[in-house]
């Protein structure tokens, strides 16, 4: 029986939209994460995919309590994190680390590598004497494949891939249980991406790590994940073991997402069916009623999709969960796709401010590059 390490229940993160000069009036909320349940088993990798603005980074941060959740529960190895007093939460943080997207902005340019790696150990009172700490640090450098002379160097002296390795070493040095990797490879070239992904896999095997990998690249996620969750506008629309999901995507959004990823093989490219989505992602400040995807869904059916919000439900016997009213009928071909007219995404006052609020909320190293 596999043990659950992280259990997230109905997690919500809403950012207020404020207006006014002197008195900030709250005029609405950006529902970045709106009711997400997920569980991650020990030693496994959970991949979270979605397009920019779907709330995947916010979910990762809320899970680590870096962004305080508005509602819901996060249980980490038997401890409830949302109600944990700050002091205990701080000591808990040793066990859950984060790897950020852009290593250049998440590493302090004025700190050398030794200081970057020591900081965490000192903060948690680990390692005892200086010599012992040095030993731990050099071991983690070895683990991520960096030479020992790197210790006295500064971040700007390294290439992108090496910087990302420093970021990984910083996470690993504390010997954590869980690592949340927010777009760990999207800033890197493909050949370097492969190196970093391989490194993450190796470390997982050696140290028995559990990963939550957040990425927009479906191919990368498939490559390293055991379970994959697909997010759209703040909620999971499909969750399944990696191979199941890619063999048989059931949610219309997942299908469209998969058909949009170019495959480096002309034979495959010429044969595959393309599902093009119309328009852009609706504003999370003013999400569509009912099924969030119904405004762009080529399979949307009148009234039910618009009126009723579907929850995740298990399809078939296994662990494949889908949030779609018509998953079976679409799969069997009973419902045929139809053309969808691109809706002009509301860009009135609300949306613009929502954008501002989002910007303020995620202006941090881990935030997506917009």
């Amino acid at each position: 029986m596999t043990e659950t390490l992280v259990e997230v229940d109905d997690l919500k993160v809403h950012f207020p939209i404020k207006r006014g000069v002197f008195l900030d009036r709250v005029v609405g909320h950006v529902k970045a994460v709106d009711g997400v349940d997920l569980r991650i088993n020990k030693g496994e990798t959970y991949g979270l995919v979605g397009e920019s603005g779907c709330g995947k980074s916010t979910l990762g941060r809320a899970l680590l309590q870096l962004t305080p959740p508005t509602g819901g529960r996060v249980n980490f190895d038997g401890t409830e994190l949302t109600t944990l007093p700050p002091k205990q939460l701080r000591s808990m943080r040793r066990r859950m680390q984060m790897i950020f997207q852009d290593p250049m902005s998440s590493l302090d340019p004025r700190q050398n590598v030794e200081s970057i790696l020591t900081e965490g150990l000192q903060a948690h009172g680990l390692g005892g004497s200086r010599a012992e700490r040095r030993k731990i640090i050099s071991k983690s450098l070895d683990a991520v494949g960096l030479p020992q002379w790197a210790l006295s160097r500064y971040p700007h002296e390294f290439s992108g891939g090496q910087r990302q390795r420093i970021g990984i070493a910083r996470a690993v040095v504390l010997n954590p249980d869980l690592i949340v990797a927010d777009e760990p490879v999207s800033a890197l070239d493909v050949s370097i991406q492969a190196q970093v992904i391989n490194l993450l896999e190796e470390l997982q095997e050696e140290l028995g790590l559990t990963y939550l990998v957040i990425a927009h690249d479906l191919a990368v996620v498939r490559h390293i994940s055991d379970t994959v969750g697909v997010m759209y506008l703040g909620a999971l629309v499909e969750e399944a073991p990696s191979d199941d999901l890619y063999r048989q995507p059931l949610h219309p959004y997942t299908r469209a997402l998969m058909s949009a990823v170019p495959v480096p093989d002309p034979e495959v490219e010429d044969r595959r069916e393309r599902i093009l989505l119309a328009g852009d992602l609706p504003s999370p400040a003013n999400p569509p009623s009912g099924c969030r995807f119904h405004t762009r869904c080529p399979w949307a059916q009148p009234t039910k999709c618009r009126d009723e919000r579907p929850g995740l439900r298990i399809i078939g016997t296994g662990t494949h969960k889908v949030a779609c009213h018509w998953a079976e009928q679409i799969e069997s071909g009973e419902i045929r796709p139809h053309a969808v007219k691109a809706e002009v995404v509301a860009d009135g006052a609300g949306a613009k401010e929502a954008h501002g609020a989002l910007h303020n909320a995620i202006e941090s190293p881990g935030g997506p590059v917009i």
């Binding site: 397009e51 050949s191 492969a194 498939r222 170019p262 691109a342």
Partner: protein, 301 residues
């Protein structure tokens, strides 16, 4: 005769007190009318500098030297004077840039930016130009074009901005389009929309397209001919299908092997017999060693 014939293109950047960098080192390729040609490579391989050189957008002074030739009909794009180049740019050869937010003017409405091209090359002004601009936006799939014309770039989403940029590029029905990473800044579903749009435009208008990208998947779905660049040189040039079926250069093999594919599961790359039992990753990174010119630049990797 090909539409564009690039021969032995080289670009060097010299700075006082520093070693000269040869960013592009003898690149040759040709583009037939109506053909889609891909230039693929990692960052720093010289693909963007190649496109800038072709468009005459590299500064002529400050230590930048451009060598070789690029015959476009009877004119050599690398040697024409600025005045002729201004006529050619936008009318015969147009460019789509990677980041639409930084290539559009943030303080000028979209409509004015589109009609600028029409006024310069086709002499259209006033209501006629506006009508034509609306028609162009409609063609690239922007809903409600008359309203969008009055809006500023920041009011449009990323995909819409890229569409507006494409509308400006195709305004004069150019014979050659150069697209420098046109979809890199976009999400996959939006990327699929833009690629489909480019495919349609190329098919309907017979425009030739030079597609510059780092994404082998994009190349596999779009290009007729592919040139793989590495450290400023073309290391492999082939038709689309042979290139992917049997890559000849070890760098191409490595590049293909390092791309995690959607249609292969966890750890599948390691099991692929093409890449042996070892890691598919290419070790290290692109090195530009100006002084050192080994017969094969990949020697150090």
């Amino acid at each position: 005769m090909p539409l564009l014939d690039v021969k032995d293109l080289s670009v060097t950047f010299a700075r006082r007190g520093q070693r000269t960098v040869r960013a592009v080192d003898g690149v040759s390729f040709s583009v037939e009318a109506g053909e889609v040609v891909g230039l693929v490579g990692e960052s720093g391989c010289g693909k963007s500098v190649t496109s800038l050189a072709l468009m005459g957008l590299l500064p002529k002074q400050r230590g930048v030297t451009v060598g070789g030739s690029a015959m476009f009909g009877d004119t050599d794009l690398l040697k024409t004077d600025e005045r002729t180049m201004r006529d050619i740019r936008g009318r015969d050869v147009a460019m789509i840039f990677q980041d639409p937010l930084s290539s559009l003017n943030p303080v000028v409405p979209i409509g004015v930016q589109v009609t600028e091209v029409l006024a310069r090359h086709r002499g259209l002004t006033g209501a006629k130009a506006t009508a034509e601009a609306a028609d162009l936006l409609n063609r690239v799939g922007i809903p409600d074009p008359t309203r969008r014309l009055k809006e500023y770039p920041h009011q449009l989403s990323g995909g819409m901005r890229q569409r507006a940029l494409i509308a400006m590029a195709v305004a004069c029905a150019p014979k050659l389009l150069i697209a420098d990473e046109p979809t890199t800044a976009l999400d996959v579903t939006i990327q699929a929309q833009i690629l489909e749009l480019l495919r349609d435009l190329v098919r309907d208008s017979g425009t030739a397209l030079v597609m510059i990208t780092h994404d082998l998947g994009v190349v596999a779905g779009m290009c007729d001919t592919v040139n793989v660049l590495y450290a400023g040189r073309v290391v492999e040039s082939a038709r689309r299908k042979p290139l992917f079926a049997e890559p000849r250069h070890p760098y191409t093999t490595g590049l293909l092997g390092s791309v995690p594919r959607l249609d292969s599961g966890k750890g599948a790359a390691a099991r692929d017999p093409r890449f042996g039992a070892g890691r598919p990753a290419v070790a290290g990174r692109v090195r530009v060693r100006p002084a050192l010119r080994p017969p094969c630049r990949r020697l150090c990797r």
